[in-house]
Amino acid sequence: MVKLTFVAPDGSQTQIDAPEGTSVMKAAVANDVDGIVGECGGAMMCATCHCYVDEAWADRTGPREDGEDDMLEGAASEVTPLSRLSCQIKLTADLDGLVVHLPEEQL
């Protein structure tokens, strides 16, 4: 299991444990983390799982996947260099302790 922390825009934190191999989006949805929708189920079709990777973790989550930039154009909240679609971040042991920040809105 990998530890994951979601930080809401108001600063409140939700900590969850998620199995390796799943995506940050799936982990959030399975644990009912408010603020990640994941409407298309991870097919990179909806941009409703937008998150900001905490700066300290940005190197380890790596660059955006193919097509992610394009979909982020439709994100409901501001897109920054730390923006990712959380469906494209796969959890590995290396990401144990990962912190991501949630946007104001997804829809």
Partner: protein
């Protein structure tokens, strides 16, 4: 006595979203979600895509079992609602009755069964059970014929080709995906599937299925060991009809997604509603419509919100390595305009109706934003917004 609360009939993605959104909007009364299928609510779109290759049913589950208890949502699976008693505000189940204050019908669709001899030999692809069966059959079969050249038929065809099968697609209309894309996009995908090695038969309805394959109207024979039926769907409106709710190409809704009974709403594939842009009564088969409907209905029930439904429709289909995306909704009266390679606009008398893109997600997302902003959108406005970096 406790208040009766909300009953949702149908536990697909839309029905589940209604339950989720009711709680998110602060609704505190009882919520009961009733589904005919066994197991937890799951995503259907991957059934004709990723699931066929990987077979991971766990990955399709939308919410874990613990979610329902945590949100105080009663989920009844494997349960078919037998009738709605509108006067008593009650639904009839095999084992009893349940009272409601508000009822949401999310009954979805089932496969159309055209008059084809021997059609019971063909497999369906609607449910997880269907997809599981299909995967088993694909493990031992070589030649597959698909009746129907819509999204599901073509997604399946592409997946089956990738798995090494010999594949034929049989479409009764003169072009593929005729209801949902422009003639140009139909031709493009016909060419693609042909290039991938799939035999594409257009304008020839299947008339018979037997152990040797499929016979077409012109007498041609398409040899196949396995036949998939994917010739469209029809909305499940029987419950609504029996309860004498208005039905017109699905359960008929007003702009606030209410049926002809103000205590009863409907959503998703089983319902028709006024298209915000054209005013036409439309029925859409998409995750987007189902979940956006669900959110609007939940806000109405939980908070008395009065907004009319205004979401921009969008659709997607993954076929092989091509990602077809549609923003907006075009009728048969729209004409096509090529904006760039893989980007086609559909324009009608009001303005831009839809944008179709292939592997151009940025253009798709920009079109979605533009269409959501104001109406009508002119072709020049669309070009300016979409071609920014797409060319």
């Amino acid at each position: 006595m406790s208040q009766p609360g909300v009953i949702i009939v149908g536990a697909g993605q839309g029905g589940l979203q209604a339950a989720i959104s009711l709680r998110q909007e602060g609704y505190t009364g009882p919520v009961t979600l009733i589904g005919a299928e066994p197991g937890l609510p799951y995503q259907r779109p991957p059934l004709s895509k990723a699931y066929l290759a990987a077979g991971d049913a766990e990955a399709l589950v939308l919410r874990p079992e613990s979610f329902f208890a945590a949100k105080d949502i009663t989920y009844l699976h494997s349960t078919t609602v037998e009738a709605i008693d509108r006067d008593a505000r009650r639904v009839v189940l095999p084992g009893g009755r349940l009272d409601y204050d508000r009822l949401i019908l999310a009954t979805g669709t089932r496969n159309l069964r055209p008059p084809i001899a021997g059609l019971d030999r063909a497999l369906d692809l609607r449910t997880l059970a269907d997809a599981g069966r299909l995967r088993e059959v694909l493990a031992s079969t070589r030649r597959v014929a698909v009746i129907g050249g819509g999204f599901i038929g073509l997604e399946f065809a592409a997946a089956a080709r990738k798995l090494g099968h010999q594949v034929a697609v049989i479409e009764a209309a003169e072009r593929l995906m005729a209801r949902v894309v422009s003639p140009l996009m139909s031709r493009y995908f016909a060419m693609l599937h042909h290039d991938w090695g799939t035999e594409v038969h257009l304008g020839q309805p299947a008339v018979a299925v037997d152990e040797t394959g499929v016979t077409l109207a012109d007498g041609a024979h398409v040899p196949a060991d396995t036949v998939l039926l994917a010739a469209g769907v029809c909305p499940n409106t029987e419950l609504a009809e029996a309860a004498e709710l208005a039905v017109e190409n699905g359960i008929r809704l007003d702009a606030q997604l209410r049926t002809s009974d103000p205590a009863i709403f409907a959503l998703g594939d089983c319902a028709s509603f006024p298209d915000p842009r054209s005013g036409r009564q439309v029925r859409l088969e998409s995750v987007q419509a189902a979940t956006d409907h669900a959110r609007l209905i939940a806000a109405q029930i939980a908070k008395g919100a009065t907004a009319s439904y205004a979401a921009v429709p969008w659709f997607w289909s993954d076929q092989g390595d091509r990602k077809l995306q549609i923003a907006g909704l075009a009728g048969a009266d729209a004409h096509e305009e090529i904006l760039a390679d893989g980007i086609v606009a559909r324009v009608d008398a009001i303005g831009v109706a839809a944008l179709e893109t292939v592997n151009k997600a940025g253009a798709h997302m920009r079109a979605r934003r533009l269409l959501a902003g104001h109406a009508p959108v002119s072709l020049d406005e669309l070009k300016a917004a979409v071609l920014k970096t797409a060319a």
